[in-house]
């Protein structure tokens, strides 16, 4: 019905509210209902008025602004055999788009979606970034981004803003990667705006798991409005979505389920802690426990070695995954009590291994968080490999929908 994210009058606390805030709030409200409308359906002004509760006059005036800003577009009239004057369909302008980018251990990637969220261009470039300095990676990504931007422009799509997802702790305010153990980065300041110069909405930096969580939120109804996304990669990342918002905590680093303590007497973790979930359920941990770790092969080769070992019911592999599942259960149980969440979405290798992980996970949950506290829904990610990419793009799009006044208007 109404767009949940459009919290009206989003001035900072402590700032006087004026009528401009009302306008901004209603701009977001109108744009939000258009953005939320199902793919084929093009709402008319009258329908927007009915659905938002605004008057037709207000909607007309607001839509005019959004058309001027190039965010919305009018389609022709659609006389659909109903009585009365047909309405003028409206849609998110397909000639504008946002770019998602991703730096990961094995690849860099960039992709563009238009404002309706449909993918226009997408390119993945395999590249070993493990323990590579940031400069060459950024140079390579910059070239890729320019290429993808040109490809989008060739299709008539102009980029308004971008998002970059990185597997590590980030601080968007200062565009800094605080720590990305698997890239070997620590306190690295990135020139993110340099990747895509001259964008009205700039470029935002995201944690990979957070971006992927946002992709889940935008795409399927996999997790609803409240869920914990757990992404199994080399490390174990997490993204916490609460009331359809990414919950980032006071400093922006919330949701790190990978470092919940699941075994106080456990092994040291890459984060410096002890017995973190990652030390048992991270890729390296599972591979070596399963005995499929081989330094000559890539991670995806190791992964297929593991899955075939599992289908062959190879004991060490079964045990390794079982242990990972149980530990996942402990971490989820603890997390669910702290943030009161009942739905878990598994991503990354957890999605691949879901078949084997689920039984020990459920077992563990019923032991550590039984009854009323049991997280009932365990699903797997719907956005696949490129979840982080889509999430980064989608989240920029969403920020536009929530604050359209930043464009021209």
């Amino acid at each position: 019905m109404a767009y949940t994210a459009g919290a009206p009058a989003q001035t900072d606390a402590g700032t006087p509210g004026s009528m401009g805030d009302v306008r901004r709030s209603n701009l977001a409200l109108v744009l939000g209902t258009v953005a939320q409308s199902p793919a084929g359906i093009h709402l008319t002004r009258a329908q927007i008025a009915a659905s938002t509760g605004l008057t037709k006059a207000s909607v007309s005036s607001i839509v005019l602004d959004l058309l001027d800003a190039g965010i919305l577009r009018e389609l022709g009239l659609n006389p659909q055999g109903e009585r009365g004057r047909p309405g003028m369909g409206l849609e998110m302008n397909p000639a504008r788009g946002v770019m998602g980018m991703e730096i990961n251990v094995d690849y860099i990637a960039a992709g563009v979606t238009d404002l309706s969220g449909t993918v226009v261009v997408q390119e993945i470039l395999e590249r070993d970034n493990r323990d590579s300095a940031s400069a060459p990676v950024m140079t390579a990504l910059s070239a890729l981004a320019a290429e993808v931007r040109a490809a989008a422009a060739a299709k008539g799509v102009e980029i308004l803003g971008g998002g970059l997802a990185v597997p590590g702790l980030v601080d968007d305010g200062s565009s800094t990667v605080i720590t990305a153990p698997n890239l070997g980065w620590r306190d690295v300041k990135l020139d993110v705006t340099g990747l895509l110069p001259g964008l009205p909405l700039g470029v935002t930096l995201f944690n990979e798991a957070n971006a992927a969580a946002l992709a889940e939120l935008a795409r399927g109804p996999s997790g609803g409005k409240d869920f914990l996304f757990i992404s199994g990669e080399v490390g174990v990342g997490g993204g916490l979505v609460i009331k359809s918002e990414l919950f980032t905590g006071p400093e922006g680093h919330a949701g790190e389920v990978g470092h919940v303590v699941v075994d106080p007497d456990g092994r040291p973790c890459s984060c410096g802690g002890t017995g973190c979930l990652e030390t048992i359920a991270g890729q390296d941990a599972i591979f070596s426990a399963a005995g499929v770790a081989d330094k000559r092969q890539t991670r995806s080769e190791s992964m297929s070695a593991l899955t075939s070992a599992l289908t062959d019911e190879e004991p060490a592999s079964l045990l390794a995954v079982q242990r990972a599942g149980r530990s996942l259960g402990v971490a989820v149980a603890s997390t669910s009590r702290i943030v009161d969440i009942k739905t878990v979405v598994l991503g990354g290798h957890f999605a691949v291994l879901e078949r084997w992980l689920r039984p020990p996970l459920l077992d563990s949950l019923s032991r550590y968080a039984p009854g009323k506290f049991l997280p009932e829904h365990i699903t797997t990610a719907v956005a696949g490999e490129n979840g982080a990419l889509l999430g980064a793009a989608g989240s920029v799009l969403r920020s536009l929908v929530e604050a359209p006044h930043r464009l021209h208007s």
Copy 2:
């Protein structure tokens, strides 16, 4: 400077914003700055205008509304030896107040603060509520509340709203205690408005630890704007404050640190889980591990037995508290990674035992959440025994400050 809580235009998402929202937002902004001003200082309209950024004209008009509603009061002019016309001091109306109430295992309590937050009346009635049905407890509390209300009225303070704190999981919407293990309550619907009939702001139901956390937020700068409050009682409760707001999660039951898993191979918990923090650091657990559990004595007697045993360096007691401290560390480490919090406030028996708990707690933290992730500030609660009481009252007060338009206006 400005009141952090006064988020402008707080209509529900999906509702059109109109000029009324602006007014509501600015009412809260003005009232917030008055409420935030230090005890002795009485702001004038001009000072409010300067501090909020509103014009003098708007402030005058808004203050008029707040005076009409009986929320603010004018003091006389205060010619303070400065040039120019002296300003008219404003303060929170001391003739209006809010009531906090508490049901706990050993007592029931009720107290009134005026709108400036100073305590007017307070009464604690010892009463063994353990495994008592809810009806007689509510009857007793109702009588106590009426008495305290009359005492406040005698002092010229009219009650506008109330809050009730209960040691258990609650749902305020339906005024239901979902589970309070130590009272033996389960899915008990309480007639909270019946306790204090005819209040314009009604009566709100709180979890005890959450209320106490709010008291910490309101009183000292003990935890700043972001902290985890851990309350050691018979059970172990928790309250999570993030950006000066109580974080309650999607269903309102967040912050239950007492049930973070700290020992996967541990003992069963009253919540049905296994190895929860409460099974090691709850009062019953500590008392019995220390060997000071004696069914004939009250809990406060057991507690003094424990503290004297500790000062005598009695080994079993030292060990019990040490273990509790270490487990606290594990739980805090996990929590800090999930919600990104760096400050912990210890309340209840954790405050009493702080001296002995701190070393193992710090030790444990540096092991499980080292370096950048270390929760740096461990403090003890400033609001003492009656933290929950004060918190319940204070939070009703705060809700008034955030939405003053609910009164008359």
